[in-house]
Each structure stands twice: as structure tokens, then as C-alpha cells.
């Protein structure tokens, strides 16, 4: 599959990664080459007969979630207010 500069820009935005123009220029060709290599998956014979591997564990086998003490001071950020961690505003 061909990969365009706009596609890379869009995928980077979906992944919330800001790219410079120089990075966009460099990555577009490299990613296209990688995707073309992944396209060899189209040539695997008799693939439709293969079932993907799945886990045998059931949800009910999982251990219970139990609350544990947590020291919020151990978080690395220095941006805090009134005992909370500060993040960017939502809108």
C-alpha cells in the first residue's frame, strides 16, 4: 500500500504525537517501505484455514481486584494543587 504524507500526519495526530515537517518528510518514505514489507502477508498460502491463537483463561479465573494503599506523593510530577495532580485543561 502506498503511504502519503497526509496519512502519516493524520495517524500521528490520532496517536497524539506532534511531528515537525522534517520528521514528516523522513518518516513518510520509511513508513511506506515498512508497510510495503508488511504487505507480504497478502501472499501467505492457505491462511484462511488458520485460527488465531487465543487464551484459555476465563475472565472468572482472574484474581479479584482489591484496593491497595497508594502513596500519591510517590508520583513523579511536581505540578500539584490541593493534594491533586495538575493536568492541562480539557478544552
Amino acid at each position: 500500500m502506498a503511504v502519503t504524507r497526509d496519512q502519516v500526519r493524520h495517524l500521528a495526530w490520532l496517536s497524539r504525537i506532534e511531528l515537525t515537517d522534517a520528521e514528516l518528510d523522513r518518516y513518510t518514505g520509511q513508513i511506506e517501505e515498512i508497510i510495503k514489507y508488511l504487505d507480504t502477508l497478502d501472499t501467505v498460502p492457505l491462511l484462511q484455514e488458520q485460527e488465531p491463537i487465543t487464551t484459555r483463561k476465563k475472565f472468572s479465573d482472574l484474581r479479584d481486584d482489591t484496593p491497595a494503599e497508594f502513596d500519591s506523593e510517590s508520583l513523579g510530577t511536581t505540578y500539584r494543587k490541593d493534594g491533586f495532580v495538575k493536568g492541562p485543561r480539557m478544552t
Binding site: L14, S15, I17, L19, E23, R26, I34, T91
Partner: protein
């Protein structure tokens, strides 16, 4: 006495019998680290003071006649994507440059219980994405055999620290060959366990359906003793298998049925091919039944691997938003999306490329074209392997298809870099164990033999690896 040269078994025995003290041993290693680190750059962090304190504690316990663990006093380096409480775990990334884990990974806790001493955190490709340890914010690790060349990766710091005699053993992580590749390039032993044998609790996730933590050492026996400490069920990792295995080095190895994988040998550099053929002949001379076998789906393994690994990476790395931990950048004046995109631009090139490729293959409409097919290839490979393991105890081939190359040679060509993983990704896709054992040298550069076995057949694999190791007698550490 130059105790810094000793392997894990001799260190533990020497400290227990009070032939030398743990403090003396750690002190010598710290001097060695100071001497060779400017050339090798295997460590992100060296824990000198803490290691000496722990050593004195071990000495005191030995003196008081207390029980000490099987790895008492043994110096270990730990790849910097495995959490150690209160010690920076950076993943060689700007994004985690200040991250202090509030807990120990299960493997770290178990090594502590066995008496091992953490001497430092080892360099890696950022978030373990790479095959050369060049993609690190702390600069590249260099191959102790030729410091102009790469040590392999992504656990390059682990393998180089062991080869350069800066510690006895190390823990790395192996997602597509990241323990075996650097072990091969640095002429040491590296083992990737069966998926589910070793807990991943406390390992920073990159592609969690593929990766396992694995040991690096200078001998098969040292690697086995680390496995005895770390392997086994962990209630904190739901993918671990029940039970606690114990491996011995006195296993029966005569008459092993060995398959030499045609596809691995054919694609290799002629010098690597020659050494691999020689290794197979050596095993035959030791009484093994060797024959050529075929794994036809190897042709599609890399495409399957890079689809699954990047897909999992794109979702695993979505958590890094720099809000609760990360590097210093004020959120003041930013809107959420722009802050998120801005801080995440601080991932390195290779991490950004893999996240974008992962987002591409998971895009709406492409799931059936890439991800589903990659998972089907995975089943196909496992079926082919299962069938071969009905008639063969182990499969062998070169660990790496080429010799260690020059630093910078492939750094701008990601696809060319991915192609060097062709022989190692198979074990990760199928979840089977594999080990790299030094097999010889070409042009003064190390070549490793890869030995693979069926799931949970580590003992058979260690038997074959140990048999080959004693027959081949390959040099481990270069003069530096």
C-alpha cells in the same frame, strides 16, 4: 585476586566459603566499571553505594552463619525497562527520565531473595525498540569486541556489561530477539524463556503478547541459575504458568535429536553459515542425531512480527501523557490534546515510527489485511514448530544472520534494521524458548548458535546448549 573476572557460580561459592568477601568483589567490579564504561557505555545508572551496602550485609550474614541464597553476592545488571523500587527506570527515554518506580518487578524481588546484588541499570534501545542499542537517550552502547560496532539490542547494555566483565549476569527482555541478538553479538549466553514462564510484572510493556524477561551470562550454567531464581508462577502476572521449575546442569544430553533449520541457514552471511554448519557437525560428533529440517512459514515471520509488535506498541505507549510522571513540562496554558501531542513528540524516532505503523495496521478497514493475517501466521508457525518438535528435541540455526555491524550503519534505514531479526522473532511468535550460545568468530567478531525447544522444554534446551558449549569452548570476554 581478580574476583571481578568470576562467573556467578564461582562468586557465590567464593563468598559463601569466605575465600573473598562480597564487599571486596563489588569494590573491584566498581573499579572495573569506572575503567571500561567510557568505552562501552553499558549502564544508564550505576548503584555503587547501594551495591556496597548490600555486599556488607551479605558478608555479615555469611559470617554469622546465616542461610544465604544461591546467588549470594553475585552482581547483576538489570535492563532499564524493569522496575526497581526507588531507582530511576527510564527505558532510555526522555518520556521517563524522572520515573521512580514505587515497587520492585517480581524478577527483581526474586533475585534479591536469592541474594544477588543490583550493580546498575543497563542501557537499551528506547522502550526496547531496536536491534542495536543505538536508539537510547543515553547514547549507544558499544560492542566490547570492537567498540566501533553495535552490541546488538535491544538489551545491548545487559550483554555488553556481562561481556565486558562489569557484572556476572544480567536481566534483559526479549520481544523479538532482544536478549539473544546482543548475546550473540557480544559472545555471551542469552535465554528467552517460554512465554508465561517468567513474570512480566514490573516490566514496562512494549508488545506484551511476545515479550519475556530473560537472563544473560557468560556460561549456560550461570544463565540456568538465574532462571532457577526468577522462573515460576506469579499471581501478579495472569499469563504466568503454574509451578516453579528447577533446572540442573547434569541433564542427559547424549542422543539428542537436533534439527538444523534450513531457512535460517540459507539466508545467513556465508561466514555465519559456515560456523553454524560447523556447530551442527560438532553436535553430531557429541552423539546427537542431526538432520536438516524446514520451517516454510519463516518467510512470513518478520511481517507477522512487526505487525503485531507495532500494533501492541501503539496501544501500550498510549499511556504516556506526562501528567503523573515523566519529564518537567508545565501543563499551564495548554489544552489537553495539544499538551499530550507536544510532550509525546519527545519519544525518539524509532518509537514514533513504530507507534505510527501500529496505528496504521490497526486502522479501520485494515484489521483483516494486517493484524488478523499476522495472528494467523503466528498459528501457522506454531503448528509447523509443534510438528517438528514431535521428532526433534531441539532446533538450531544462527542467532543472527550477519556479523555485528558498524555503529550508524543501519540507523537511518528502519526496514534494513528489522530484517536482522529474521531468525529470532520465530520463538516470540510461537511462545517457545530459545537460547543463544557463543559458536565462534569470523573476522574477530562473535557468532552465536540459537537453540530452540518446545514450550516449557527449557531443560532439553539447556542440555543441548551446555553440550555444545563444552564442545565448542568459545572465548567469552575480550581484553578491553
Amino acid at each position: 585476586m581478580e574476583v571481578w573476572r568470576l562467573g556467578a557460580a564461582d562468586v557465590a561459592a567464593g563468598i559463601r566459603s569466605r575465600e573473598f568477601s562480597a564487599e571486596e568483589y563489588i569494590q573491584q567490579l566498581l573499579e572495573r566499571i569506572e575503567r571500561v564504561e567510557p568505552k562501552v557505555n553499558a549502564f544508564v545508572t550505576v548503584q555503587g553505594k547501594e551495591a556496597l551496602e548490600k555486599a556488607r550485609l551479605v558478608d555479615r550474614r555469611v559470617k554469622d552463619g546465616e542461610q544465604v541464597g544461591p546467588l549470594a553476592g553475585v552482581a547483576v545488571s538489570i535492563k532499564d525497562n524493569i522496575c526497581v523500587k526507588g531507582i530511576k527506570t527510564t527505558c532510555a527515554s526522555k518520556m521517563l527520565e524522572n520515573y521512580l518506580p514505587p515497587y520492585d518487578a517480581t524478577v527483581v524481588r526474586r533475585l534479591n531473595e536469592a541474594g544477588a546484588i543490583l550493580i546498575g541499570k543497563a542501557n537499551l534501545d528506547e522502550f526496547a525498540m531496536g536491534s542495536t542499542t543505538e536508539f537510547s537517550r543515553d547514547g549507544p552502547t558499544r560492542n566490547p569486541w570492537d567498540i566501533g560496532r553495535v552490541p546488538g539490542g535491544s538489551s545491548g547494555g545487559s550483554a555488553a556489561s556481562v561481556a565486558a566483565l562489569e557484572c556476572a549476569v544480567s536481566l534483559g527482555s526479549d520481544t523479538g530477539g532482544s536478549v539473544r541478538c546482543p548475546a550473540s553479538f557480544c559472545s555471551v549466553v542469552g535465554l528467552k524463556p517460554t512465554y508465561g514462564l517468567v513474570s512480566r510484572y514490573g516490566l514496562v510493556s512494549y508488545a506484551n503478547s511476545l515479550e519475556q524477561i530473560g537472563p544473560v551470562g557468560r556460561t549456560v550454567s550461570d544463565v540456568a541459575s538465574v532462571m532457577n531464581a526468577i522462573a515460576g508462577y506469579d499471581e501478579s502476572d495472569n499469563t504466568t504458568a503454574p509451578g516453579k521449575p528447577s533446572y540442573s546442569m547434569n541433564g542427559k544430553s547424549g542422543g539428542l535429536r537436533v534439527g538444523l533449520v534450513k531457512e535460517f541457514v540459507q539466508g545467513a552471511d556465508p561466514q555465519v553459515e559456515k560456523i553454524t554448519q560447523g556447530a551442527a557437525n560438532m553436535l553430531a560428533d557429541q552423539g546427537c542425531r542431526c538432520e536438516e529440517v524446514s520451517l516454510p512459514s519463516v518467510e512470513f515471520a518478520l511481517a507477522s512480527y512487526y505487525t503485531i509488535a507495532t500494533a501492541e506498541a501503539s496501544s501500550n505507549l498510549a499511556r504516556y501523557d506526562n501528567v503523573r510522571y515523566g519529564f518537567d513540562m508545565s501543563p499551564e496554558g495548554y489544552e489537553w490534546n495539544s499538551y499530550f501531542a507536544k510532550v509525546r513528540s519527545n519519544f525518539g524516532d524509532e518509537v514514533k515510527r513504530r507507534i505510527i505503523v501500529g496505528s496504521y495496521v490497526l486502522s479501520s478497514g485494515y484489521y483483516g489485511k494486517y493484524y488478523l493475517k499476522a495472528q494467523q501466521v503466528r498459528s501457522l508457525l506454531r503448528k509447523e514448530l509443534k510438528s517438528l518438535f514431535k521428532t526433534h528435541d531441539v532446533l538450531v540455526g544462527p542467532t543472527m544472520p550477519i556479523l555485528p555491524f558498524k555503529i550508524g550503519e543501519k540507523v537511518d534505514d528502519p526496514l534494513k534494521m528489522y530484517l536482522v531479526d529474521v531468525d529470532t522473532v520465530v520463538a516470540n511468535l510461537a511462545g517457545v524458548p530459545a537460547i543463544s550460545v557463543p559458536a565462534g568468530f569470523a573476522d574477530g567478531l562473535p557468532v552465536g548458535l540459537q537453540v530452540m525447544a518446545d514450550q516449557f522444554e527449557e531443560q532439553k534446551m539447556l542440555n543441548a546448549a551446555s553440550l555444545f558449549e563444552s564442545a565448542a569452548g568459545v572465548q567469552r570476554s575480550p581484553e578491553l
